[in-house]
């Protein structure tokens, strides 16, 4: 028996040990296709998202390989210029809107946010299912545009090109519009869940950093996504009704479009990367068995990024013809947003100090993240400097920069998260050796693909080019070879993860010895996560305390919620579970 003391009352806490190999869990309590399609269980919705984003990642990846293959020679290699333009557009649009934005929050976040909060589900389970269906509907609409004339504007849909070109721009933008609502609803759901559904004792300073990162992300999703929706609606109105908003031929202003677009799309970069930061914190702390260093610095820097991130959109427009004064202010703010990101990197490194580090595959992916994201971040500093941006804007340098951040940073963090939580999600262990081999393969393939792009970019190679001058061929060819290595790496992951479902060893409830809440329930978790509402006594990073203090606690009387929700709970006389 333990006692948790709030500022108003003491809670007598009874510890209990989860059943070791339960017959009932979230995958077998409701079965059948219909149960899946109508489920309001956040874990199943998370898995459906995971399957969907993985599918679109492969579709987008195939597009990338086609683009890279076409660029093998300076002139036409095997596809026409118009086809090439459509393929790179789809690659960008699919990767951004169908993979990067929903990947961590909607797939891993959906699964683990309630588990880390000690909650049964998210605050609005039906809304959560609606988010998923909006995502699917938006994705299908976007895919219709491929067969309905294609779209060749680039994922940025810049006007007046997008308002005058042929093809299915209207359908595509409508699809993205619908997906935007999915993103907004997920954000609303997560913020409410974090505020209202924390288990008794789970004060803000015990909230996991993954939850903090999702919290910051949700704020951006709610505030920025409507602007994208409005903008795309305006493009649609211009195309269908001929209302002049962005097209100068109709009296509109094309640069206004860029302001609107980047007002969403720059914060969207943080929608993509901030949840990844959350995963990094979880994994580094778990595998170094050490309390995270600078908890508040990491938590608050996510919020700082979320807020400052709204004020830097103009750095995409240094050469667009915006005023020099505006460029100066945007450049200044861009450098400021680099600081909280730097703070995170330093705190993660400091966490390893005097830790007990085990380089398992999730941590190996995080190390990959660390190097690639560092390069991506520092080249962001280069691009933030106006004079350098003038030279490098819209060259392959920018392409390499955002791939280092988005693939090197975000995708590596996502893969780390998938490997870290795979035992909890599926109840199976994957082949650790293969996991390490493919991590190294991806790391090598990635660098071979994108480092040459920095070089050709600073030498002057513009992006979105079908033909190019011969001096760049050698860099393009190295890059193409790298992309094939990268492709093989991703296929390997796919292979051993699927294989683990059938042949993998059964996972322990807590194979990594983590102190975080989601690892204290069974693998697989029960349908409603916790048989009883747990009382939280220790923080998720309290590695200085022995493992048995982390068994789930249950209030002896009542539900454990003190009248004041922000109650502080401390543990006394920890005892073994009965």
């Amino acid at each position: 028996m333990a006692t948790a003391e709030t500022n108003l009352k003491k809670i007598q806490v009874q510890r209990y040990e989860p059943e070791s190999d339960p017959d009932q869990h979230y995958l077998n309590e409701e079965t059948g296709l219909w149960a899946w399609l109508t489920t309001v269980d956040h874990k199943k919705i998370g898995l459906m998202y995971l399957a969907s984003v993985t599918f679109f990642f492969f579709v987008g990846g195939i597009m990338a390989l086609l683009v890279r293959t076409e660029l093998w020679t300076p002139a036409k290699t095997f596809i026409e210029a118009n086809t090439y333009n459509q393929i790179f557009t789809l690659h960008g649009a699919i990767m951004v809107f169908l993979f990067l934005v929903p990947s961590v929050p909607a797939a891993l976040g959906n699964f683990f946010l309630p588990l880390q909060l000690g909650a049964k589900d998210v605050a609005f389970p039906r809304l959560n299912l609606l988010s998923y269906y909006l995502y699917v509907a938006g994705a299908l609409i976007a895919l219709i545009s491929i067969v309905n004339g294609g779209i060749d504007t680039g994922w940025t849909f810049y006007t007046p090109y997008s308002s005058t070109t042929g093809g299915a721009v209207t359908i595509m933008t409508f699809g993205v519009f619908v997906i935007g609502f999915s993103s907004i609803l997920t954000g609303v759901n997560f913020i409410t869940t974090i505020h209202k559904m924390r288990a008794p004792g789970l004060s803000w300073d015990k909230l996991s950093l993954f939850c903090w990162s999702l919290y910051a992300t949700s704020i951006i999703q709610i505030l920025a996504t409507p602007v994208l929706a409005i903008t795309l609606a305006l493009v649609g109105m211009e195309r269908i009704l001929g209302i002049g908003i962005f097209d100068p031929a109709l009296g509109g202003d094309p640069v206004l479009y860029q302001h609107f677009f980047w007002f969403y799309s720059h914060p969207a970069v943080y929608i993509m990367i901030v949840p990844g930061f959350g995963i990094v914190s979880e994994v580094i702390s778990t595998f170094s068995k050490k309390h995270i260093f600078g908890y508040w610095a990491i938590a608050l820097s996510s919020l700082a990024i979320a807020f400052i991130g709204f004020l830097v959109w103009g750095h995409h427009m240094f050469v667009s013809g915006q005023a020099s004064l505006a460029s100066m202010v945007f450049s200044f703010l861009t450098f400021l947003v680099g600081i909280p990101t730097g703070i995170k990197m330093f705190n993660w490194t400091a966490t390893l100090y005097k830790g007990s580090i085990r380089v398992a595959s999730p941590l190996l992916y995080i190390f990959g993240f660390f190097f690639l994201f560092l390069v991506g971040g520092l080249t962001g500093i280069v691009l933030g400097s106006i004079a350098l941006n003038v030279h490098l804007h819209d060259t392959y340098y920018v392409v390499a920069h955002f791939h280092f951040v988005m693939v090197g940073g975000m995708v590596m963090a996502f893969l780390a998260g998938v490997h870290y939580w795979w035992p909890k999600m599926t109840g199976r262990m994957y082949n650790e050796t293969m996991a390490k081999i493919s991590c190294v393969t991806i790391f090598i393939g990635f660098n071979v693909t994108f480092l040459p792009q920095f070089v050709m970019g600073s030498l002057g190679m513009p992006r979105r080019y079908f033909n190019y001058i011969e001096q760049f061929q050698i860099y393009h060819q190295i890059s193409t070879v790298g992309s094939y290595i990268l492709g093989i790496g991703f296929m390997m992951i796919f292979y051993y993860l699927i294989r683990s479902l059938y042949k993998g060893k059964k996972a322990e409830p807590n194979p990594w010895g983590s102190r975080a809440l989601e690892w204290q329930v069974n693998s697989l978790p029960p349908l409603h996560n916790f048989h009883h509402t747990p009382v939280i006594i220790n923080g998720p990073y309290d590695y200085h305390k022995p493992m048995d203090e982390f068994q789930l606690g249950l209030a002896e009387n009542g539900h454990g919620h003190a009248p004041q929700h922000e109650a502080e709970v401390s543990s006394q006389e920890p005892t073994k579970a009965e």
Binding site: Y158, G321, G338, I339, I357, S385, I386, A387, L388, G460
Partner: protein, 316 residues
């Protein structure tokens, strides 16, 4: 340093290019030091604190305010230096000297056009004097383009419905490539031009020779002039002369042929059809090709159009 510069940057051919380069190296080398430092510490920690037994207990180290302040303030100072430096170089690149020589630039799918003070016009070739500031006053006829000269480290979007400016001083005679860096459709990557830098006197005589423009050079037959114009006005970016199908129909054998239009009707390609297609390209579009051609109304005069038609006739 020179060799290193050539590894990552194009030759610096304008008077201000080296300023950008110095900043480029400063930021990259500082970044390299930071990367090596941080990754070095990481690798050291991972080795030194590797797990030796599963029973290890780690000390509780939650935070350290001095460290937090240090690693916030030092990077802040560094980025402020980069910010101020970048802004100062940028402003120097922005503000053209008062005595700059002005040239008008028009971007349209997929050609750069240049107009000089005396009415001389060139397509795809920007002629400038060496050692004298040149200011480009730019606008677009259709979508957004971007004028980028890597050798000069300058770039500026060219926007329909407004003027944007760019200036540079070429250090010495020679040629530099111009790229379009704002995606503008099918032949975006072919929308290139050359900056041709002359000695001052050479430039003046070139300019005088090309004054007015638009009339047939006396030593050329109309079809020969038409061939020249077709290249100069970038017709051949989209229309091949050897039978290959590109963005537009090939010119080989097109004259007097029967073509099916997008509305299903057919048309015989004669002088009138060709003239209409140059002046009003969207009126009758051949089936299977996108309606992307710009009008040349007000750009090509009658003599020039006639010459191009003569040239097309010779391709049968």
């Amino acid at each position: 340093m020179e060799a290193l510069n050539d590894l990552l940057l194009p030759p610096a051919k304008s008077t201000l290019a080296h300023q950008t380069d110095t900043l480029f190296w400063f930021v990259h080398l500082s970044g390299l030091v930071l990367t090596i430092g941080l990754i070095g510490v990481l690798i050291y920690f991972v080795y030194k604190y590797r797990r030796k037994s599963e029973d290890e207990v780690t000390p509780l180290i939650t935070h350290n305010n001095k460290l937090e302040v240090t690693w916030s303030v030092i990077p802040l100072i560094m980025v402020l230096i980069v910010f101020g430096w970048g802004y100062q170089v940028f402003m120097e690149q922005r503000v053209a000297p008062d005595d700059a020589y002005e040239i008008n630039v028009t971007g349209q799918k997929w050609i750069w056009q240049f107009t000089y003070e005396n009415g001389a016009r060139t397509n795809g070739e920007l002629h400038v004097p060496a050692g004298r500031p040149v200011k480009l006053i730019m606008s677009s006829n259709d979508v957004i383009h971007s004028f980028y000269v890597p050798d000069y480290r300058i770039k500026q979007d060219v926007v329909p419905g407004r003027y944007t400016e760019l200036w540079f001083t070429a250090k010495e005679t020679g040629e530099s490539i111009v790229f379009c860096t704002e995606y503008c459709g099918t032949s975006h990557s072919d929308m290139t031009a050359q900056v041709i830098v002359h000695e001052e006197e050479e430039f003046d005589s070139w300019l005088a020779d090309n004054a007015g423009g638009g009339s047939k050079p006396e030593d050329l037959a109309p079809a020969e002039w038409g061939e020249q114009l077709a290249t100069e006005w970038a017709c051949t970016t989209c229309h091949s002369t050897d039978g290959t199908s590109m963005t537009g129909p090939t010119w080989q054998g097109v004259f007097e042929s029967e073509e099916t239009l997008t509305d299903g009707s057919t048309v015989t390609v004669d002088e009138n059809y060709l003239r209409e297609s140059i002046l009003e390209p969207s009126a009758k579009v051949v089936e299977g090709y996108p309606d992307v051609m710009n009008t040349y109304q007000g750009q090509l005069n009658d003599d020039q159009i006639n010459a191009i038609i003569e040239y097309i006739k010779t391709l049968n």
